[in-house]
């Protein structure tokens, strides 16, 4: 019995050493410039189309059963002539020390080689623990198996599983595109170029507010943007070490506007 417990503890430790991801090839990171975000929600639409996220409808949204992997939070301040509106797109932050990973009783969520926090749908039993632990509220639960009507099932992305009832899901940083880029790079015997991988939200952003890249590569655009003075991470005090970096919005009068202030 003691040996058995030791074995479990050993496995538990492997996944939970802080900073263990640093030895991996890639550290996928997203930088979101809030100065450029105008809250058009093109990223939300693109994400839904790319990742087979069902449209649940008004009623289910009212029951707090929304199914969006990325959402735009709006903050409105002040009275009419002096209104300040702030938008902030929030998706899974792919935390380096993710609280959700410690929670899952069946190891359905874990950290992989690329510094991604991934969800294995086949393992998930739907205990909802990860969603409770997530400080960013980005994990979404399939309350029902959503059916697509006849012509709409044709637009499903074959590279992404169609999830069923009782499975937790969340943003994957479009892992299927990362995988495709890796495949291409391997065929041509090179490493992945900067900007070759673009998640659906980054690709669709009309103002170019989002940038995606490899943090381990010092020449990447993301690495340079992350040095900016405006950078901050969401709920940094929780020490979850998110992979998504936000650049503060600077207003006309010089004050910075983040949703945290």
């Amino acid at each position: 019995m003691g040996k058995f417990l030791d074995k479990i503890l050993e496995r538990f430790k492997i996944y939970r050493i802080p900073g263990y991801y640093e030895k991996y090839d890639h550290k996928w990171t997203m930088v979101i410039d809030l100065d450029r975000c105008n809250g058009c929600e093109a990223c939300v639409v693109a994400c839904n189309a790319e990742n087979n996220v069902p449209v649940v409808g008004k009623e289910e949204c009212g029951n707090k059963r929304t199914l969006n992997w990325i959402r735009i939070e709006r903050y409105v301040e002040g009275e009419y002539p002096n209104v300040k509106v702030k938008f902030i797109p929030i998706m899974c932050q792919h935390c380096g020390k993710a609280p959700c990973e410690t929670a899952c009783p069946v190891y359905a969520t874990y950290h992989n080689q690329d510094g991604l926090n991934v969800q294995v749908y086949n393992r998930c039993v739907g205990t909802f623990t990860c969603a409770t632990y997530c400080p960013y509220d980005v994990r979404r639960f399939n309350w029902f198996t959503y059916k697509r009507d006849e012509p709409l099932n044709q637009q499903l992305n074959p590279d992404v599983t169609v999830r069923e009832m009782g499975v937790m899901e969340k943003c994957t940083f479009c892992i299927q595109r990362i995988r495709a880029a890796k495949d291409r790079a391997k065929d041509e015997n090179r490493s992945i170029r900067d900007g070759e991988v673009q998640p659906a939200c980054v690709q669709s952003c009309p103002t170019g507010a989002m940038t995606f890249g490899d943090m381990n590569d010092p020449d990447s655009k993301v690495f340079k943007l992350a040095k900016s003075q405006r950078k901050y991470k969401l709920l940094e005090e929780l020490n979850a070490d998110p992979s998504v970096i936000y650049l503060k919005r600077v207003m006309k009068d010089g004050s910075s506007a983040t949703h945290e202030e």
Partner: protein
Amino acid sequence: MKKVILYIVVGVATFAIGYNVNAVYFSDRSPIQPIAFSHKIHAGDNNIPCMYCHIYADKSTVAGVPNVRKCIGCHKIIKQDAPEIQKLTDYWNRKEPIPWIKVHNLPDYVYFPHKRHVKAGVHCQTCHGDVAKMDVLTRVSSLKMGWCLDCHTNGAVAIIGREVKNGKDCWTCHK
């Protein structure tokens, strides 16, 4: 006592017969195809390489089933009178694809690129068995996750001479 033995014998015999009948006639391992295509004649006796028909095996995730034009290309001339070839010609004249039944069918949530495996140096026969000797194509491997992991954890050294990189990561194969 005798009765008990009789029951056991009859039970075991019934199970054995049923199991075999099921394995032969109702299994998905070797379904009855619309045309009795023989891999033995094509790949075995006539030595046609796999990649002549399954052209995408080293280029794409799927190996690809040849289109009817490819079959007709040879069978316009070869063995036109055989009843099975007549069926093929019918499909060709009707401009219909042949409704082959998929033997090696993976679930929807599995990402299996033929390309990566072929380029790594895995032979077709490693997973598909000795197809060149099969009159009716039979699935020899279980295609279960444990079977995949046999190679992905440590068995690959014997086949491709190196270990699989990130072989244990769930998202290498799942999607």
